[in-house]
């Protein structure tokens, strides 16, 4: 992909996100001036940037949207939900295109037609909002007489045909332009306007336009003629007079020459027309028709006004005796259109003259000198004007006039009037020899304390690059872990205690650095959860409209940061929770009203950090979960038996929603989806090393709390030995290590446990659990790793403890991927593979 385009894609995505965010804010609070500005700025920036690529559909759509927003900003158009829908639809289309640009480097094939449709919708809104008097005025103007202005709207094919014909006929050729506005009652007079027109000899073009805004079919009178006919024909005035003799008062016939046909201004000009037209002008001025034909050929594929002009020029130049005035007229009208009115700063070459960019810049400076002389702003601007003049004059005349200018500058400042500079400038620009002037200038520069302000500097880097560094650091950690082994070998095998100590020392240093590095990179990967949250306003809006519910979404703590992977992995579970809440939790407005609640429900999405965990809380003030209902459902579905159901308290009952295969709604709605339930949410969260908690109160609402590690990149594990194997236990579950004397072990039916600070801790023998051979010898004491599982301590009986270590945990792949009980594998410093357990699955 093109380098620039690659840069454009993320930027465009960002701007589109911002746009929809601002749009939704604005819908909620139409008076939010900051939001409309934000929205406008995003769209505007995107339009400006998109302009440098050849994606006209994209730019056009943005342009139309900007027009709409302009009206909204000026309070001429209300931002109703329908308009928001239309704008959001446009944003969706653009987002879709951006992804195409990303993947294919171009817009989809249907972009032009899709874009046209969107633009048409926007234009409709624009038209509807146009002030009524203006519309009437236009109509009135049209009523007074058609003139020949309609030629400007001639379909291009017809225009080309006419131009070709005129070019062939030679210099003095004319065509007839006939504007026929039939009497609405003409059908009753036996007239058939269309038939009449078709009788005309040499017809080149017949166009019809509505007499006025078309009414709906039921309103309109089908027996009145509501069209106007516009005809271009190669015929004599007499022939036309003969044909229209009965309706002569309704017909305006005039002769047009080539130049008149081409004299209509062209709007809108594409923004890049400047350079192209300049090139054409230059070629025409040089009478280099070959070059002009080539240039026109090049632009003839374009779909804008430059393209149609190019095709006209080509057509003219193809004629056996090319009518040069016609060509010049075409080029002229491109410069003479209202969009491109001559003004300082316009196209480098405005007319077929010898003016250069330099001349234009000089003119601009002259104009600046002449504006508001004497004001403070004027004085402030002068230094740059003088500097600019010096540079441009140097280029244009190869003369160093800085001294003259400086002098005039001083005089101008002293007199507080523009004249000295203007006079000096005209002297410099006059062909007369330069006036020798004495330099008596002191540098105006003085050091001034300018307030320094903080600007944010942002470096945008592709995720994959950061990931690559992360992987490398992971490997560095692994390589680093090899050093202790090396030290041990140096000491035990080679007897070099001194060397072993040095290696250990180096290890310490390396360990520190790699940890700092890990931290730093981890920090790069941190991103605010706001990036995740920002899609929910749209979701809530769309779904609540669809469900007929009235919901307000409150977002808090979107600045809370977490690792990008964590945030990405959270996306689906959170989406599911939100949908559940919207679909099941929130009642319809009437139901809420009947229950004495506010009709507008609230969903709150809140993020905060708690130690090394990021917490996300989704709460709503909906109907809550009925524990009795949950118990009944669970029994019905055979998930638990009646006896157990009866033994559950309300809080426990609610937790049943996390069981696999639980779905409370009798008919699945199309929103929260089928089959995927809260159990999937729970599993996903737990796979990330997090946990999920649910609270609910009937009639008051539901609260779901997700707690996740800040980062998933590096895991600290505790290594233990079991039957000569090293096994990893995630450090975040480990509470402590204890050695329990044999006598302290208690047996309670089948279960073993021991007392730890007056609390009973159940024991699990890892050898048994992992189906490894039992100990042969009796042991005096057991090594017990006390871990926290579902909030309660549990003791794992292992052979011995090893050290805690940081590893890059890789999930199990291939055949082992489905194996429950393991969180993944990690490579140790000596190359050995460490299996890391997932206690929740294993126990």
């Amino acid at each position: 992909m093109d380098h620039l385009l690659k840069q454009f894609v993320p930027e465009a995505r960002d701007l589109l996100d911002k746009s929809s965010e601002a749009l939704l804010t604005l819908e909620k609070n139409p008076a939010d001036g900051e939001a409309i500005n934000r929205l406008f700025r995003s769209v505007h920036t995107l339009k400006g940037t998109a302009g440098i690529f050849e994606i006209p559909s994209f730019t056009k759509l943005l342009h139309a949207a900007e027009d709409i927003l302009n009206l909204v900003r000026e309070d001429q158009l209300a931002l109703d939900p329908e308009l928001v829908d239309q704008l959001l639809a446009g944003i969706d289309v653009l987002a879709h295109w951006v992804e195409w640009l990303h993947e294919k480097g171009e817009l989809p094939n249907d972009a032009a037609s899709v874009g046209e449709r969107c633009v048409a919708v926007y234009r409709q809104r624009l038209k509807a909002s146009a002030p009524a008097p203006a519309a009437a005025a236009v109509d009135e103007a049209a009523e007074t007489g058609p003139g020949a202005n309609w030629l400007a709207t001639l379909p291009e094919a017809d225009q080309l045909a006419a131009v070709r014909l005129l070019a062939e006929l030679g210099n003095d050729a004319r065509l007839l332009a006939i504007a026929y506005d039939p009497d609405p009652q003409c059908f009753y007079n036996g007239e058939d306007p269309l038939f009449t027109v078709k009788q005309m000899p040499g017809v080149l073009s017949v166009a019809m336009e509505w007499r006025q805004d078309w009414q709906t079919l039921c309103e309109g009178d089908p027996f009145s003629c509501r069209v106007r006919l516009r005809v271009l024909a190669d015929a004599s005035r007499d022939a036309a007079g003969e044909l229209f003799r009965y309706v002569s008062e309704q017909v305006d016939v005039r002769e047009v020459r080539l130049a008149e046909l081409l004299s209509f201004s062209v709007t809108p000009l594409p923004a890049d027309s400047e350079a192209i037209v300049a090139q054409w002008r230059e070629d025409a001025a040089d009478h280099d028709w070959m070059a002009l034909a080539n240039a026109a050929e090049q632009a003839s594929d374009r779909e804008d006004s430059i393209g149609s002009s190019a095709r006209l020029i080509r057509t003219l130049l193809e004629a056996p005796n090319p009518p040069i005035d016609g060509v010049v007229a075409i080029i002229e009208r491109l410069g003479a259109s209202p969009e491109a009115e001559p003004r300082p700063g316009d196209s480098p070459v405005r007319q077929l003259s010898e003016e250069s960019l330099g001349a234009l810049v000089l003119q601009v400076q002259q104009a600046i000198i002449a504006t508001e002389p004497g004001s403070q702003e004027w004085r402030n601007r002068l230094a740059a004007v003088v500097e600019t003049l010096g540079r441009v004059v140097y280029v244009e005349f190869q003369r160093d006039v800085r001294d003259e200018l400086e002098q005039a500058f001083e005089a101008t400042l002293a007199a507080n009037a523009a004249e000295p500079l203007l006079t000096a400038l005209s002297q410099i620009l006059s062909p007369a020899p330069a006036i020798a002037a004495e330099a008596s200038v002191s540098a105006a520069a003085a050091t001034v304390d300018t307030p320094r302000r903080d600007g944010e500097k942002v470096l945008k880097v592709e995720q994959s690059r950061v990931d690559a560094i992360m992987d490398l650091v992971g490997e560095l950690v692994v390589a680093k872990n090899a050093l202790p082994y090396l030290a041990r070998r140096a000491e035990n095998e080679f007897g070099c205690r001194e060397l072993a100590r040095e290696i250990k020392h180096q290890y310490g240093a390396l360990d520190r650095i790699s940890q700092a590095m890990q931290g730093a990179i981890m920090h790069i990967r941190m991103m605010p959860v706001g990036t995740l949250f920002q899609r929910y306003p749209r979701l809530v809006r769309d779904l609540s409209r669809k469900l007929g519910k009235d919901i307000e979404l409150v977002i808090e703590g979107e600045d809370t940061e977490a690792d990008k992977n964590v945030i990405e992995a959270l996306s689906d579970p959170l989406l599911h929770i939100m949908r559940n809440s919207l679909d099941h939790g929130i009642e319809l407005p009437d139901e809420r009203g009947a229950a004495g609640k506010r009709r507008t429900a609230q969903i709150k999405l809140k993020a905060f950090q708690e130690g090394d965990r990021v917490c996300i809380e989704v709460s709503d003030d909906g109907r809550g979960i009925d524990p009795a209902h949950i118990r009944r459902k669970a029994v019905e579905k055979g998930l638990i038996d009646e006896a157990r159901a009866a033994g559950l308290n309300d809080r426990e009952s609610v937790q049943l929603v996390f069981m696999a295969g639980f779905s409370t709604r009798d008919e699945a709605s199309d929103l929260s989806g089928r089959g995927v339930g809260m159990d999937v949410v729970r599993t996903t969260v737990e796979h990330m090393g997090g946990d999920i908690a649910l609270d609910s109160e009937v009639g008051r609402g539901t609260r779901i709390l997700l707690r996740l590690p800040l980062s998933m990149a590096v895991t600290r594990v505790m290594m233990v030995e079991v039957a000569d194997m090293l096994i990893g236990i995630p450090m975040d579950t480990v509470i402590e290590t204890v050695r329990v004397p044999k006598g302290s072990l208690r047996r309670f039916k089948q279960a073993e446990m021991f007392t730890l600070r007056e609390a009973l801790v159940p024991l699990v023998r890892m050898r048994e659990r992992l189906a490894l051979p039992r100990h042969e010898a009796e042991r005096d004491s057991e090594a017990v790793l006390v871990c926290r599982l579902y909030g309660a301590p549990i003791g794992l009986v292992v052979d011995d403890f090893n050290v805690g270590i940081e590893v890059v945990l890789k999930p199990m792949t291939g055949l082992l991927a489905g194996l429950p009980g393991y969180a993944g594998t990690a490579v140790l410093g000596n190359g050995q593979v460490l299996l890391v357990l997932n206690l929740k699955e294993l126990l």
Binding site: L4, Q7, F8, E11, R41, T45, L46, G48, G51, I52, A271, D272, A275, E282, E339, E341, R343, G345, P348, S353, E354, S356, L357, G358, V361, L362, Q363, V364, I368, T371, E372, E377, N380, R381, A383, A384, V385, E387, T388, G390, R391, V392, Y394, V395, E396, D400, L429, P431, A444, A445, T447, V448, T450, R452, R453, D454, G455, E456, K457, V458
Partner: protein
Amino acid sequence: MTNALPTPSAAEAGARRFTWPGTRVLVVDDAITIRLFCRQILEKAGFEVIEAINGLEGLEQLLQGTIDLIVVDVNMQKMDGYEMLREVRRQPVLSAIPAVMMSTKSKPEDVDKAYAAGANYYLFKPIRPEPFLACVRLLTATVQ
């Protein structure tokens, strides 16, 4: 005045001759793509390009080193192009640096507003490589 001016081609040739290595152009635009676009064109032509994402950062860059020309967008957060140019013109140490404003806004009053704020020239977006480069070359010409 028109008569006194050389033909465009001569001016173009002249401009090329007066570009010096180490000429520094500050490009201020909140759109990274535009900044990159300018950078590509200008660096290829031998200019040194400094970027800023808004007016504030632009001012900071200006205060940090010698800049020969400012190219600035209109719409930006924190501080827009007009404000930045007004500030530049108010500061005696900066006020003599020529500035080109670029924008999609093409109404005459937009152009006037740019000149009033302190721009010395105005380019319409989308900017095209050749006119852009020609303009930068002309306005950065240094007298030996």
